[in-house]
Symmetry: C2
Subunit: 419 residues, 2 copies
């Protein structure tokens, strides 16, 4: 069979499975998730054996230690996957709810009913836990899912897929509701991205290169973010102690993630008091600062920032710092260099807080808290399948509800149109 | 200037205008819409003059009478455009509302705020009224818009654009909030579809060929429907008089639109009683019927349907008719041949009505009313910019709300993340 034929067969089977999935009662979907959680823990040896092959090959192929680390499945990984599935089982099911009802003058009753999207394709790199986490969320929302993980994790993903299929069929769900593409050729991805009659949504998760490739080649709608260039603006009326804690947390607590701060903007009227203190604390934590001229007047040890720093997503203990004239210059900087991901103002001023909230265009706009809160779990969505900085369908973290859509439902008693 | 440079300049100017538009108060947006409505009526001669050039060229280029008819701007067209703008001005402004608020255990207040999408590109054919209708809806929702009409309407569209720009600036709105691409080369479209940093959404309106071209070439999210293959299923428990009226309305009232019925499915147990009556009435109205074998047993005069009829969108006084065994066969037919647009069941049976509503996957699922009600105005959206059969962002008619998105807004008092 050609790669194209393999992918086509998977996509067509997913559409059929999706139709069945859309009608599965909540209790039965939860049962499948709980069964899978148990199976992962009791059958962990099978996963470890398959994963060891991937790790061995990764070593032979000269992958970096960091990448091998992300690839490795440990007892803790298994536990996290199982616990995650149990949490998703405990979440409310968005499917079937009716909303925005109205009675039209001609007597028609119109509502919107929440329904599954249908078939979701996930294209990702490295971490095998995505296979289980993504499958769990998609299933709970009544969708079928096609998973295309990185070639370096193929043995792990196949083993996980076998477990998932067994748990689905044991709970009376269609076995094809979760399918892993078993070939590692990139042609499988381009074929997948052309199946708009079988697939309703593509979610790419990984580096910017992968995501740009997916967007450029997909005929199917894509939800994604390219990068997170998140700012904290310390206003002239900020509580500087609070600002220091927020900046430290936003940069240092987990620098490698998309909602970490990449650029700090400081109002010129507080730069003298704020920068030396926060600068020392960041430096002590190992942070390299790349500052504008006015920053380096206060932090002589800082490196000089150039134009490449303002749009940079370092994902590391590096921070760009700029002293700005006022709120307007801060918001202009964010509009010019931000990535519509997460933007924070620290202030005690009511009007400027409101202006920042209304005028800044980002998936999450935050007053007086860390950038790190732009996360599905933290914002109350329960669990997330990713963060979107596209504005269509979802802007920000995507949870169960974002894996569904609404259809119009109309009840009449013989109405016809005359105009 | 090259075509690419022209389009890039327009797109960059639209992004800037969009940022300004997002902050314009409702009253000021309404003022601009009302001014434009008045201007259209007082300056209609300028539009007629420009339109006459397009109509003359269309004649020279040998366009069909139907196409020239769609191109022509009359007094009635002007009045409809002006009235449409006044209706949009009267609609509520979706921008700025907060929703789905929650208080997190750590004290963060989380909400979603409705905000404009930003910049919307509309790619359409023929009818110059789309220029005004689309601009009005996009503006009211706080967006900037780039319009790319058909080359055959270029003079009309340029004249309308001049009027729109004058009305915008007279009301203090950014003049570049509505821009018409002044070149007719198709390269302008492909360049436009690549500007994902400047444009947030593309809406193509026109024939299936245009739409497929846009989807294949766009890096920007697209909302669209390819076609409307809408079914009416007449159940064994249907009120046959009601079913006849609904079928007649769905097929005959306006056969050239996407929410007209294209295939009639009749339960075998009522075929003998239903088909001869409805068949005669449709035939008298000039409808050609293309039927399955069991249909032709009842309607000897019907043409024989073949496999190409079931997925056909005739947009004409032609109807495919199939006699089915039961509800399951009807729903399987719809799943196999439908276009997720509009599906109707006529029945007095409670359980089968509920099954049809839950199990059929279409942007509008209707019990006991005409397919023709799948329309933004009819379903209570006020006005519509099109119908989406993609499931992302919007499924069904798209009104003002569908031209916006939501961002997360978070109020804290110093919260940082520890895990």
């Amino acid at each position: 069979m050609t790669i194209e034929a393999i992918v086509l067969e998977i996509a067509a089977a997913a559409r059929k499975a999706g139709r069945l999935m859309s009608q599965i009662p909540t209790a039965q979907k939860n049962q499948a998730l709980m069964t899978l959680a148990d199976q992962l823990e009791t059958d962990s040896e099978r996963i470890f054996t398959a994963n060891a092959k991937d790790v061995e090959q990764a070593g032979e192929n000269g992958l970096s230690n960091a990448m091998i680390d992300r690839l490795k499945v440990t007892d803790a990984t298994i536990r996290a996957m199982a616990d995650g599935l149990r949490e998703v089982a405990a979440l409310g099911d968005p499917v079937g709810a009716m909303d925005e009802s109205c009675l039209r003058p001609n007597g028609l009753e119109v509502s919107r009913m929440r329904v599954p999207l249908g078939v979701i394709g996930i294209i990702y790199e490295s971490r095998p836990n995505v296979t289980v986490d993504a499958a769990g969320l998609c299933l709970k929302a009544g969708n079928a899912v096609i998973l295309r993980g990185g070639s370096e994790a193929i043995h792990s993903n196949r083993a996980l897929a076998d477990l998932i299929t067994a748990s689905l069929t044991a709970s009376g769900l269609p076995g094809k509701a979760v399918q892993v593409i078993p070939v590692t050729d990139r042609a499988a991805v381009t074929t997948l991205l052309a199946q708009e009659s079988f697939i309703d949504l593509i979610i790419p998760r990984g580096g910017e290169g992968l995501i740009r490739f997916v967007v450029a080649n997909s005929k199917i709608p894509v939800l994604k973010h390219y990068k997170g260039v998140c700012h904290v603006y310390v206003d002239q009326d900020a509580d500087l102690g609070m600002a220091e804690d927020i900046c430290f947390n936003a940069k240092v607590q987990r620098p490698g993630v998309c909602n970490a701060m990449e650029t700090l903007l400081v109002d010129q009227s507080v730069a003298d008091r704020f920068l030396p203190k926060v600068g020392r604390r960041l430096k002590d934590a190992g942070v390299t600062i790349r500052g504008c001229g006015r920053t380096r007047q206060r932090l002589a040890w800082a490196e000089a920032a150039d134009d490449s720093d303002w749009p940079a997503e370092y994902l590391d203990l590096v921070l760009a710092v700029r002293v700005v004239d006022d709120l307007d210059q801060a918001m202009a900087h964010i509009a010019d260099h931000g990535s519509n991901h997460t933007e924070v103002i620290v202030t005690r001023n009511y009007s400027r807080a409101r202006r920042f909230i209304r005028e800044v265009d980002a998936s999450a706009v935050i007053v007086n808290a860390s950038t790190r809160f732009n996360d599905g779990g933290q914002l109350g969505l329960g669990a997330e399948i990713g963060i979107s900085t596209s504005k269509l369908h979802a802007y920000g973290p995507m949870g169960l509800k974002e894996l569904t859509t609404t259809k119009f439902v109309v009840f009449g008693d013989g109405q016809v149109r005359t105009t």
